[in-house]
């Protein structure tokens, strides 16, 4: 636990198999933003066999709806949103090639099982530390669903974006392990 590991996108199964829950990762490269409304549209495209607005092979999706960018900044505050709302959609996207999700809060068993099956991971960013997180974002542009406002899909270029491995490719769950460790009777 508690190693610091650099990850470069697009992610490969070999890189992800080395990760263990509790490891701190620093992600560099491209990350795509999507929340509830964008997930609904992405999954519909997958189910209809249509092309997605970005290459999902080895991709990272960040569950975030950023605040508007103030003048001179690439993005506004940009911390994670609660992930369980994306649980119905995530396994379908992992089957299509998605390799990592960034959010906050625990995931359901079906999502954890899908991560094991697809050699994918779930990373926890720190909710409510949204200004700190935004510092890792070097540029942002809307690539799809502009009508959704903050919920549009953005392509973020990130450098050393900090997160913790919450679910690894072996099915371990930090939300269970971490809590049991500090539980008192």
């Amino acid at each position: 636990m508690s190693k610091e590991i650099h990850l470069q996108t697009p992610l490969k199964s070999e890189d992800l198999k080395k990760l263990n829950v509790g490891d701190k990762v620093l992600i560099s490269g491209t990350v795509y933003t999507a929340r509830d409304a964008a997930h609904e549209r992405l999954v519909k495209l997958v189910q209809e066999g249509k092309e997605l607005p970005f290459d999902i092979q080895g991709a990272v999706i960040y569950f975030v709806g950023p605040a508007p960018a103030p003048p001179g900044k690439p993005i506004g505050s940009a911390g994670p949103t609660t992930s369980y709302r994306m649980d119905p959609y995530s396994p379908i996207l992992m089957d299509a090639g998605l390799k990592a999700m960034i959010g906050k809060g625990p995931r359901g068993q079906k999502v954890v099982d899908s991560m094991v099956k697809n050699n994918a991971v779930y990373l926890a960013a720190i909710g409510g530390a949204a200004v700190v997180t935004a510092q890792a974002v070097k540029s942002a542009r809307v690539i799809a669903y502009e009508d959704l406002g903050t919920e549009a899909i953005r392509e973020l270029k990130v450098e050393n974006f900090p997160a913790f491995v919450a679910n690894d490719t072996q099915g371990n769950d930090i939300f269970k392990i971490g809590v049991e460790k500090y539980q008192k009777k």
Partner: protein, 281 residues
């Protein structure tokens, strides 16, 4: 009687929207520090340090503490001697919200139809407004932006008198612990006891406005708050649900009389980004 032109309300609401989203209260900082000293998990300590860094950077960079700048809850305490002139009070408040969220680069997080269309209203209006009529000729305005993640973990339960205070304690502990990492712990639990179905929920929300460093003035309920808090912090949930001894910073109770057949209990969960600012005109 004192006349207040509603146009005076607009800049106050605008300022409170921006201030509350950029500057955390000193009581929250003090409580976080108190808990960080006792925190047993090194990861949790690291997260709490990051939260302090975020407080500092939000103020310096003039960016909101959290991207979820919330639904804008506005509490008004209106002196009964006040007569509003010059337009509609509700519209003035919404105009203040509109201006504050635009000029403060705050996120617009409301959809119009809650179920079917879910199209963003574009300016974070309408605000959710609660008014109390009080003695005097002043108006106290409180703006409390509320994020969706913690609000989603809140609950109203119509309990039985036979459940007693032990039933209430169990419910509050269960609600916070089962929420796990979802509502951005460390949280504050606002608890509303009594009243009616809807009044208990409003009491729970108003309970959150008490400064975290102030005790409940009622010694019996103060003891109940402390016991619930200790039980929550034994759960191991910790900051962000990653494990630790800091799951909640405070439990705050407000109570009111209720029907002989009822015992409504509401728990309103508040994330660590606990935002509210007030001004009196």
């Amino acid at each position: 009687m004192r006349e207040i032109n509603v146009s005076e309300i607009i800049p106050v609401v605008k300022k409170l929207c921006i201030d509350s989203n950029l500057h955390i209260g000193q009581d929250v900082v003090d409580k976080l520090k108190e808990f960080m000293e006792k925190e047993e998990s090194p990861t949790a300590k690291g997260i709490l340090e990051l939260i302090f860094k975020n407080h500092k950077m939000a103020a310096e960079e003039k960016m909101p503490l959290c991207q979820d700048t919330g639904v804008t809850i506005v509490f008004l305490e209106i002196g009964q001697e006040v007569h509003f002139v010059g337009g509609e009070l509700t519209e003035a408040i919404n105009e203040g919200v509109r201006q504050g969220y635009k000029e403060g680069y705050l996120r617009k997080s409301l959809v119009d139809d809650p179920v079917i269309e879910r199209v963003n209203t574009g300016d974070n209006t309408p605000a959710i407004i609660y008014t109390d009529i009080v003695p005097g000729d002043k108006v106290k305005i409180t703006v409390a932006p509320k994020g969706g993640g913690s609000e989603n973990m809140s609950e109203v339960r119509m309990m039985k008198a036979a459940d007693g205070i032990e039933g209430v304690k169990d419910f509050v502990v269960e609600r916070v612990v089962e929420s796990g990492g979802n509502p951005c712990p460390p949280v504050i639990a606002g608890v509303g006891l009594g009243g009616s179905f809807e009044q208990s929920a409003l009491l729970a929300k108003k309970a959150l406005l008490r400064p975290l460093t102030e005790e409940n003035p009622d010694p019996v309920y103060n003891e109940v708050e402390q016991e619930i808090l200790q039980r929550i912090n034994k759960s191991g949930v910790g900051p962000q649900g990653l494990g630790g001894t800091t799951t909640a910073l405070a439990v705050q109770i407000l109570h009111k009389p209720c029907h002989i057949a009822s015992m409504p209990v509401a728990v309103n969960i508040q994330c660590h980004c606990h935002r509210h600012k007030s001004e009196t005109i």
